[in-house]
């Protein structure tokens, strides 16, 4: 059972993450001037849900903090506190503390010091009473260190409620009546109000429950019953007198009347030999005797009750038995319709990975079958249909793993707040394309690179407000974070409008560090690439933020490990843009199988533009070792894979008898690759080489073809990257 609770708690923490994201987006919108009820409600609901779950799982400190936060949000929601920028800034601070509390509840960090934040929230609440609608800017700054030391788990009573840990297995125990010394009997007078049977309530159930505690009905006053003609079967007319053993707890009795309609009379008293004490408990909000009509005779109602109570139960049971299968049927709709989109289930990521791997195997088996069966046999066993289904399964599984890249972006705003507070720089964040969907594995792995890039941009890119004003720029710097899908790749850019890369300094530093020779001739792009070299750092003082000299080469190696690439472009005084080009998925690739010197290779189809059988003279040498192909009036560089990989040239054909595949790459634009023939076009399952081998430039992995042989997958971008860049990399490494 505790495993089950752990599992639910894990889901709760996922919800916390989602809730925090929603709250942060809402707060950011509020900061931007959107204080619509809908936005405020979204923040309120997020914090409220976190509080609710935290209470259920006994996270007292988190509950207490969320509760205080929620109180302020509730006041804003009700229009009693104006959401001024001052108030919103306190909210953002409280949001950060709330995130810390969630982390603390998860055990990933210690309890945060939330005293200042609580005091600020408290000041806002207090300010409300002084000046109801007035802006509450001031108290934020001068918040007195009042009240609150409630981060301690045992100090949540002032908030008026106490979290209760759910004890799933012990439910039988709590019902046991406490053993008290012999007490005088209880006498209860119960007169349900006329409409006590509205809203599905049933006063008879109260009496049944009391009977379960040992009660017996000593008197039923039927004087309120009207004549049969005037009787409304949905109204209550009777009043009961009930006696109960004296050892039953008063709370227990009170609980029984929990849901009794307001205006009912409930009097609970001890029947001692002396005069009865005044009524002890009246759980119904008000007990007004005069509301209860007690006049007319008649005695049918109690009887009617029993019939009514029995029949709806039977009817409902019968209805549910027939309704459930129908419900299941109607639930089987296209999962993509908007109607059901919000209905989700959570799946262990490992199971998804396993599924993905299995689908990969299925794809390979399909390829093997199509290789081994003749076209006629393929038709006979309906292999094309099988292949179509496999492809659909594959697409669906891939889409299961796709997540909006927002998940990787969402930690940026908070980081920026911390960074700007630390550096005194002013930075505004603009994001674009957060809904771009990327494989979950990619999202997980670009978090760190993104963090480094943002830090880098604030620390090295954006200037201090004074410097910016001197340079004729607005004091506030801008960082643009964007994502977009381009073909089978995701392009993520981090652009700042800061000072740009200081190439003179970078060059000097690289020489000093021995990364390049003092007389090396490098282009601007090559110099920019140097900042990705291991151990390179131009920061003269090592700040807390970046400048430890590990950032950029970690960025590059992380992104390359994903099969991606980092491009840098920088304009002095105008800013720097880092572009991460990432694969859309990590598992399956649409590829063209080509043959070269007797070996087979897979070209990712996303890069392939066309295949050309060159006419004599269409491919010509320019300088020695360098060839171009003329395609419809333009000249494109041509590469021989045999040369790049050092394959024996003996089997290769003259250009006229081979094929030129025109590929497009992010690094070098369009390039022709000379191969012998095209074998096939197929989906291949990428098997990583790096678990077994060192990364090899130009190779993205390997796959198993239909006949069981192995083909290497070409990494087109790396393969056709300009030689100068390759040179720089060589120098950097």
């Amino acid at each position: 059972m505790s495993d089950e609770l752990d599992e639910i708690q894990a889901i709760f923490f996922e919800e916390c993450t989602e809730g925090l994201l929603a709250a942060e987006q809402g707060l950011a919108a509020m900061q931007g001037g959107d204080t619509s009820p809908k936005t405020i409600a979204s923040v309120f609901r997020a914090v409220h849900s976190i509080k609710g779950g935290a209470g259920a799982f006994g996270h007292a400190a988190l509950t207490a903090f969320a509760h205080r936060f929620e109180n302020v949000l509730d006041e804003i929601r009700a229009g009693r506190i104006a959401p001024t920028q001052g108030v919103i800034s306190v909210m953002l601070g409280a949001f950060d503390k709330l995130s810390d509390h969630v982390a603390a509840a998860q055990g990933t960090m210690g309890l945060p010091d939330d005293a200042a934040s609580l005091a600020a929230l408290e000041a806002i609440l207090a300010g409300k009473d002084v000046a109801p609608a007035a802006p509450v800017e001031a108290p934020v700054e001068v918040a007195p260190p009042v009240v609150v030391e409630s981060s301690a788990a045992d100090d949540i009573d002032p908030f008026g409620f106490e979290p209760v840990t759910v004890a799933i297995e012990d439910f039988a125990a709590t019902d046991a009546a406490p053993m008290l010394p012999v007490d005088p009997e209880w006498t209860i007078l119960f007169a349900p109000s006329r409409d006590a049977m509205a809203n599905g309530a049933e006063p008879v159930l109260v009496i049944r429950e009391l009977e379960g505690l040992g009660a017996r009905v000593t008197d039923v006053d039927i004087s309120g019953l009207p004549s049969l003609r005037d009787l409304d079967p949905e109204h209550a007319y009777l009043r009961w007198t009930i006696s109960l053993p004296g050892d039953v707890g008063e709370d227990q009795i009170g609980d029984c009347f929990d849901f009794v309609a307001p205006d009912s009379i409930v009097e609970i008293m001890r029947t001692s030999s002396e005069a009865p004490p005044p009524p002890a408990v009246a759980p119904a909000p008000s007990a007004v005797v005069a509301d209860v009509p007690l006049r007319e005779p008649g005695a049918i109602h109690d009887l009617l009750h029993r019939v009514e109570v029995a029949s709806p139960a039977i009817a409902a049971a019968a209805a549910s038995a027939t309704a459930t299968p129908a419900a299941e049927g109607s639930a089987k709709r296209d999962p993509r319709t908007a109607d059901t989109a919000s209905q989700t289930i959570r799946v262990d990521l490992h199971k998804l990975d396993m599924l993905l791997n299995l689908v990969g195997e299925l794809v390979i088996r399909g390829s093997i079958l199509s290789d081994r069966l003749s076209p006629a046999d393929q038709q006979r066993v309906e292999l094309p249909e099988q292949a179509r289904l496999t492809r659909e399964i594959q697409d669906t599984v891939m889409s299961l793993r796709a997540q909006p890249i927002r998940q990787a972006f969402n930690r940026v705003p908070r980081m920026l707040r911390d960074l700007t507070a630390e550096t005194g720089k002013q930075v505004v964040l603009e994001t674009q394309g957060e809904t771009t969907e990327v494989d979950k594995g990619v999202i997980e792995k670009i978090g760190d690179p993104l963090t480094h890039l943002i830090r880098n941009a604030v620390d090295h890119g954006i200037e201090s407000p004074e410097d910016r004003l001197r340079a004729g720029k607005p004091a506030q710097g801008t960082i643009r974070l964007s994502a977009a899908q381009k073909g089978a790749r995701i392009v993520v850019t981090v652009a700042d409008d800061g000072r740009g890369i200081d190439r003179v300094r970078v060059r000097a530093k690289a020489i000093e560090k021995g990364l390049i020779g003092a007389d090396a001739v490098l282009s601007d792009e090559e110099i920019d690439q140097l900042i990705c070299a291991p151990g390179f750092s131009t920061a003269t003082t090592v700040s807390n933020i970046s400048g430890r000299g590990v950032g950029m080469d970690v960025v590059r190696s992380n992104v390359e490990a994903l099969g991606g690439r980092v491009d840098i472009s920088s304009a002095p005084g105008r800013g720097t843009t880092f572009t991460l080009v990432l694969p859309l998925t990590l598992a399956i690739l649409d590829g063209m199988v080509v043959r070269l010197a007797g070996q087979r290779f897979v070209l990712p189809l996303a890069h392939v533009i066309e295949a050309i059988r060159p006419e004599p003279g269409q491919v010509r040498a320019t300088t020695p070792g360098s060839e171009v192909i003329e395609v419809r009036g333009t000249y494109l560089p041509v590469r021989r894979l045999t040369q790049i990989f050092g394959l024996p040239d003996v089997n290769t054909l003259p250009p006229e008898e081979s094929l030129v595949i025109i590929v497009e790459s992010e690094t070098a634009g369009k390039v022709g690759l000379i191969v012998d023939t095209i074998d096939d076009r197929r989906e291949v399952v990428i098997k990583s080489l790096e678990q077994n081998l060192h990364p090899i430039r130009g190779l993205g992995g390997a796959t198993i073809l239909g006949d069981g042989s192995i083909a290497l997958i070409l990494d087109v971008d790396a393969l056709v990257a300009p030689l100068s860049r390759t040179l720089t990399r060589g120098l950097a490494a």
Binding site: R45, G52, G55, V164, F171, A201, C256, T344
Partner: protein, 121 residues
Amino acid sequence: MSKLILTVDDSASMRMLLKTSLTAQGFSIEAANDGVHGLARMHEVQPDLLITDINMPEMDGFELIEAVRALPQFRGTPILVLSTEFSDEKKARARSAGATGWITKPFEAAKLGAAIRRVCP
């Protein structure tokens, strides 16, 4: 015949918690994640009892209760609110919308079970 309860809450962990603790007490549980789906599920499962949260996207608890009560077949179906809120104002609003009772989160499984049996024997 175990009682069939429809729980409506936008938090998956809360739905699971309800399902786990109430199934252990012999109830059958169906769930929905907001008022709109809750209303649709009411028609589909015809539960003996509806337990709903208040603060939910789309249709909130108050609106759900009103919508359910407006349907003749659910006039007598007990509806319990399960919410972290506990102001008298909200409780009164729930009552006038047609709620049978109010339980404050966080709940203790045994007490929740007892409360349910109070309206749904």
